[in-house]
């Protein structure tokens, strides 16, 4: 993934994302149970956990499509509950379960979402992203006929349309071959450094998490059990690898209770 010129100014002071005391219940089930964390500009944080740990619920709350029962979310200092539009204008996301409409072409989809996000000079921005994600030859292809890897790149291009301060990536490389996935990881990491973007990244690929993330939050049963540098954290907890630590925490979460930051 070739680099694009940086168009965002230097990062504003303060965290790109602040989550405090976030809770969500579905009936008797505590999907998210009082989690707190933050993301600094330029930081890539891995949100890990077994299926049903509360990762997607957390992401949905940060995206404003799910209302928390308690807690606050501030994106770039803007309270999501009070200033939804301003907070979401600073956010974007790509997720395997939210593909772009397959009946529009790549270019049409990007133009549609550029207008929804109020992107200035959308034509220039779309051209830059088509180049950045090597999508120029697919511009007139309907998204529904693209391979899953190509669709992922289109979703990422859409996720960068508004040059978000906070980017949420839910298993962005799940459908990519190893070579494409590696290129994508490098591209995203470079972009986060260069443009001052904070990225919250979920993945079940621990190798990928170690390669990309500055920090990980390991969730289970709606709580953050552990957090730290993915290259150091396993040793701190007597595990040989991040994958081994993940499996232990998933099977015996009570053994890893840690005061939440």
């Amino acid at each position: 993934m070739p680099s694009a010129p940086a168009t965002q100014t230097a990062a504003a002071p303060g965290p790109a994302l602040e989550v405090r005391g976030l809770c969500k219940r579905y009936g008797a089930v505590r999907a998210v149970d009082g989690i707190s964390f933050g993301l600094a500009p330029n930081e890539i944080v891995g949100l890990l956990g077994p299926n049903g740990a509360g990762k997607t619920t957390t992401i949905n709350m940060i995206l404003g499509v799910l209302q928390p029962d308690a807690g606050t979310i501030r994106v770039d200092g803007v309270d999501l509950a009070r200033q939804r539009r301003r907070a979401l204008a600073r956010t974007n996301f790509a997720a395997v379960y939210a593909p772009l409409p397959g009946n529009l072409t790549v270019e049409q989809n990007l133009r549609f979402f550029a207008l929804l996000y109020g992107v200035r000079r959308p034509g220039e921005r779309i051209e830059a992203l088509l180049r950045q994600f090597d999508l120029e030859r697919f511009r007139r292809s309907k998204c529904g006929v693209l391979s899953s890897g190509e669709q992922t790149r289109v979703c990422l291009a859409k996720a960068l349309l508004n040059e978000p301060r906070l980017l949420l990536l839910d298993e962005p490389t799940a459908s990519l071959d190893p070579a494409t996935a590696q290129d994508l990881r490098r591209g995203i990491r470079d972009m986060a450094r260069r443009d001052g973007r904070a990225i919250l990244w979920t993945s079940h690929n621990m190798y990928e998490v170690e390669e990309v993330c500055d920090r990980v939050l390991l969730m289970s049963r709606g709580r953050v059990l552990l957090q730290g540098d993915p290259r150091v954290l396993p040793r701190q907890h007597g595990a040989a690898s991040l994958e081994e630590l993940f499996i232990s925490a998933a099977r015996e979460p009570l053994a890893f209770q840690e005061p939440q930051r």
Binding site: L63, L66, P101, N103, R111, A114, L116
Partner: protein, 267 residues
């Protein structure tokens, strides 16, 4: 309200229609079938009925006006269904788009598509069956305006219903105009109906249009208060439908229905 996202929604619909004859055809096909069917029925009724009564403006005109209302409503709901069919709610509602902007986009889309249908109906009914619009005089404009506004209100309400009850409730939306037509007195005076149906009919702005239409054709002057009330009712119903959509959206965000929309339930 920002114009850019509203135009985005209209542009999306234009893209979809440009590349899809199956979306363009219904704008003409169903209204054409209705006009042709009722055109021949009125022609036959004119041949067997009393010469003093011309069925063309009474029946064919009523069909044309009712079809216009139906197309407006379906213009709104179809634009909404595009997000349903392409499972696009998460992308749409996680963007900075406000509910007002979203609804405005649906309405503008409906304006464009319903005007195309109206033009097709006017041309066909006039050219093939001699329906003259001058018989309705200048009141044709407020007639169309009332029907347009009520179509918008019902379209927004129907979209709210589908957002609340899930994709399968789409099948309840299509027959809505047919369900309302007996109450609106499309083909007969409201006085024909039993009292409780008349009471329902008086809450429906189109009933004032069809009463007015029949009064004009009978050589009378429709009371201006009736159409003014219809306009006010329709505007009020648009506001209520918008509030209903916003409330359903809030509920969907609070309960988790929006994030789990395909499950049709948050639990």
């Amino acid at each position: 309200m920002r114009p850019q996202p509203v135009l985005g929604l209209v542009l999306r619909q234009f893209y979809l229609m440009r590349g899809s004859p199956t979306r363009v055809l219904p704008m003409f096909a169903w209204v054409t079938i209705d006009i042709v069917l009722w055109g021949f029925i009125t022609r036959w009724l004119n041949s067997v009925g009393t010469p003093r009564l011309d069925f063309v403006p009474v029946l064919l005109g009523a069909v044309l006006l009712w079809d216009f209302f139906s197309r407006v409503m379906q213009g709104v709901t179809t634009a909404f269904f595009e997000d349903l069919w392409s499972r696009n709610f998460l992308n749409i509602f996680a963007s900075p788009l406000s509910i007002n902007e979203y609804l405005a986009g649906l309405v503008l889309t409906a304006v464009a598509t319903s005007l195309v249908s109206l033009l097709a109906m006017l041309l066909l009914a006039g050219a093939a069956f001699g329906l003259s619009y001058f018989v309705y005089r200048l009141l044709l404009v407020p007639f169309l305006l009332v029907l347009f506004l009520f179509g918008i209100a019902l379209g927004i309400l129907a979209s709210a219903m589908v957002l609340r009850f899930g994709p399968a409730s789409e099948w309840l939306v299509w027959p809505m105009p047919a369900l309302l037509s007996p109450f609106a007195g499309v083909f007969y005076p409201l006085s024909t109906l039993p009292a409780w149906m008349q009471a329902v009919g008086r809450l429906l702005p189109p009933s004032y249009v069809f009463e007015g239409m029949r009064q004009i054709l009978a050589g009378q002057r429709p009371p201006p208060g009736g159409l003014a009330l219809a306009l006010l009712l329709a505007l009020l119903q648009i506001v209520l439908a918008g509030l209903c959509f916003a409330a359903v959206h809030r509920h969907a965000v609070r309960s988790g229905l929006l994030a789990r929309y395909s499950a049709e339930s948050a639990s």
